[in-house]
């Protein structure tokens, strides 16, 4: 195992040092004192397990392709953005937009995450052990998002394709547009069970529901776009001065 003390390395060089370790064939790398640096493990490729002992900043393990990257602390926004394969394991909490545009691999957060987790995701699996903020899985184009805790509002807003699994009892009321609340299938529940077993979550697939893109009876996406709603009942509560049936000032 290789230990790297990031306190002694220029922040622009840290990824290069990690890459060189992987190139040399090192399979297990531990990095201490990373002190919330941005872009750590960005674009990292190969076959290795890389562990950061404290917290990391923005874009952690973005464009990751192959390695297992573990963060023992918290991570900032955009962790795992555009991730291709491998694993990104976050032991604590994250900022927003985690797993944006992820195309493959597994991204696991044991704590809570902010808004827009899995924004535009195209593949792969994201598991959130805690709660997720608003717009989880917004405009996703594939992949699987699993939220074990509570969801924020507008979950699944305008998903094109993909699935969001939730056991939040209020999930149906919190859904965004263009999605439906559906029962989980036996196969899907089994898939979740194996993921929970692999990552040590005490949960059962059968407890979950699925949020899916809305389809019409022919199986085609029933995509509805925003249109201003002209709600005359809504406006009726405001007093209008006309139609008072008499003259102003008349008793």
């Amino acid at each position: 195992m290789e230990h790297i003390n990031a306190a002694k390395i220029d922040s622009d060089k840290i990824n290069q040092v990690i890459r060189e370790c992987i190139k040399k064939g090192e399979k297990e790398i531990r990095i201490s004192n990373i002190h919330a640096m941005h872009n750590v493990a960005a674009g990292l490729c190969g076959d290795a397990s890389v562990t950061f002992e404290d917290s990391t900043g923005l874009y952690t393990a973005s464009y990751l392709e192959g390695p297992t990257v573990t963060i023992n602390g918290n991570v900032g926004w955009y962790a795992g953005d555009n991730m291709v394969s491998g694993e990104l394991i976050i032991k604590q909490n994250t900022g927003c937009n985690v797993g944006a545009y992820i195309a493959g691999g597994n991204l696991v957060v044991y704590g809570n995450t902010g808004s827009r987790v899995g924004y535009g995701m195209k593949g792969g699996t994201i598991i959130i052990g805690g709660n997720a903020g608003r717009w989880a899985g917004q405009l996703s184009m594939g992949g699987t998002l699993i939220i074990l805790g509570n969801c924020g509002p507008a979950i699944g807003e305008s998903m094109f394709t993909g699935k969001i699994f939730t056991r939040d009892p209020q999930a149906e009321e919190k859904m965004g547009g263009n999605v439906i609340y559906d029962e989980i299938t036996i196969e899907e529940a089994a898939e979740l069970d194996s993921l929970f077993a692999a990552y040590g979550f005490e949960a059962k697939g059968a407890e979950f529901h699925v949020i899916r893109p809305i389809l019409d009876p022919s199986g085609k996406h029933k995509y509805v776009l925003f249109k201003p709603e002209l709600n005359k009942e809504g406006a009726a509560k405001y007093k209008a001065s006309g139609r008072n049936g008499g003259c102003y000032g008349a008793e």
Partner: protein, 434 residues
């Protein structure tokens, strides 16, 4: 006296309530929604035709149009990138998606770049392998939708473009109507076939300029500082946007004016969002000069560029290159019917209908686009030589004069035949005598 004699009455031309306005109202009354149209805005806006180039006479020696050389080669993206792009002519093919355009059209355009030594941008929705194989130099757009985008494209790109806006519909994202979302396009973009697609409006991996600074470092790290990274910006608050792009650390900027084309845009967006290409370019150049980075940050301008005169004038104002979209489509046979959104192009360009696509002969279309690029380059060279330049890039704003008060005020370039500059000026010594 004879009453009620039949006399032909001629009413004044309808002003506001002309036939175009009537048809737009009819559409909304019938459908309860706004109209989507192809090709961008038909509005008349101040443009490069409002400028003229001053030829050399006693003050400048002209260069022989028919026998002497004038260099057209251009280097783009040299600010930080290790491998800036070298093009034989400062004309690139703008980003137009496979989806908006047919596969044959995309391949023809990329082949044309190989014939002329220039660059093509992929547009939204991924990059066709055939486009990549055939292009001379390839720019890859990183859009908010990230549809069809793959990590490997970062390494296949000769240039990267982070897209913030499209001149024809700034503030909005891509539109691709259901007619054009075939099974193949649906597979590449990972979206359901047949839906009317309105792409992701905001990028999910950078919210604002501070994030972008970090994002830029991420991309530099992944591309090993080799690939030039450009920002594509629609012309809006040009001064502020350019300042941010420079601070973020882009190698160059593609500035897209409101006369740019598109496969589909709401009529409202095309006609009423953004500012025209020519004044936007002036504002961009002014800003880069103020920031003292004009020589290092490359500037490509697009939006209605149609001939060598537009290109020569854009370069004289301070652009390093131009990008053409609609003009390249016209060279392939497009007749600007403004119905691209319907996906039924009789010429096999703005369609995914296999029978129509087959009508576009790739090699013939590629040759026509290459001819057009060559001729357009020759036109710009002709003007540059007449102005006494042995390099296209030596054209300068002092070679220009405005033909209208409006263009004079917008560009700060003196009115032809006078020293009159209205407004801010543009580096001229002429004083504002108004």
């Amino acid at each position: 006296m004879e009453q009620n004699k039949q006399v032909k009455i001629v009413n004044p031309e309808k002003g506001t309530w002309n036939n175009i306005v009537l048809s737009e109202i009819d559409y909304k009354a019938a459908n309860g929604k706004y109209r989507i149209r192809g090709c961008g805005s038909p509005r008349k806006v101040p443009n490069f035709d409002d400028l003229v180039i001053l030829p050399g006479q006693c003050t400048r020696m002209t260069i022989d149009t028919y026998r002497e050389d004038c260099e057209t080669r251009v280097v783009l993206g040299k600010r930080f990138a290790k491998n800036p792009i070298v093009l034989e002519t400062p004309i690139m093919i703008a980003g137009m998606s496979f989806g908006a355009l047919s596969k044959n059209a995309k391949i023809a355009l990329s082949k044309a770049t190989a014939m002329t030594g220039t660059l093509i941008s992929n547009g939204e929705g991924g990059c066709l392998p055939e486009e990549l194989e055939n292009s001379y130099r390839q720019s890859i757009q990183i859009l908010a939708s990230r549809m069809g985008f793959k990590k490997e494209l970062l390494f296949q790109a000769d240039m990267l473009e982070i897209l913030y806006g499209i001149g024809a519909k700034p503030g909005l994202a891509g539109h691709l109507m259901g007619e054009k979302i075939t099974d193949e396009i649906s597979k590449i973009r990972q979206i359901p076939a047949g839906i009317d697609l309105h792409s992701h409006p905001r990028s999910g991996d950078a919210f604002g300029a501070d994030d972008l600074v970090v994002k830029m470092k991420q991309l530099r790290e992944i591309t090993n500082w080799e690939t030039p990274i450009f920002a594509k910006i629609a012309a809006s608050r040009v001064r502020e946007d350019i300042k941010i792009a420079v601070k973020v650390g882009f190698d160059g900027i593609i500035l897209d004016g409101c006369t740019a084309g598109t496969g589909a845009a709401p009529v409202m967006a095309a006609d009423h969002l953004g500012i025209p290409t020519m004044p936007a370019l002036v504002q961009a150049v002014r800003t880069l000069e103020e920031m003292n980075v004009k020589d290092e940050v490359s500037l490509i301008v697009s939006g209605g560029i149609k001939d060598g005169a537009d290109m020569a004038k854009a370069i004289a104002i301070g652009a390093d290159a131009v990008a053409i979209g609609t003009a390249a489509m016209i060279a392939m046979g497009c007749r600007v019917c403004m119905n691209c959104q319907a996906g039924q192009c009789a010429f096999g360009i703005g369609t995914q209908n296999p029978e129509q696509v087959a009508k576009l002969d790739i090699d013939v279309a590629a040759r026509r686009v290459a001819n057009y690029i060559e001729a357009m380059t020759a036109e710009a060279v002709l003007l540059a030589k007449a102005a006494g330049k042995t390099k296209l890039s030596n054209l300068e704003r002092e070679d220009l004069r405005s033909m209208t008060l409006e263009s004079c005020a917008m560009t700060g370039i003196p009115l032809a035949g006078s020293d009159l500059v209205i407004g801010q000026g543009f580096g001229y010594t002429a004083s504002n005598t108004l």
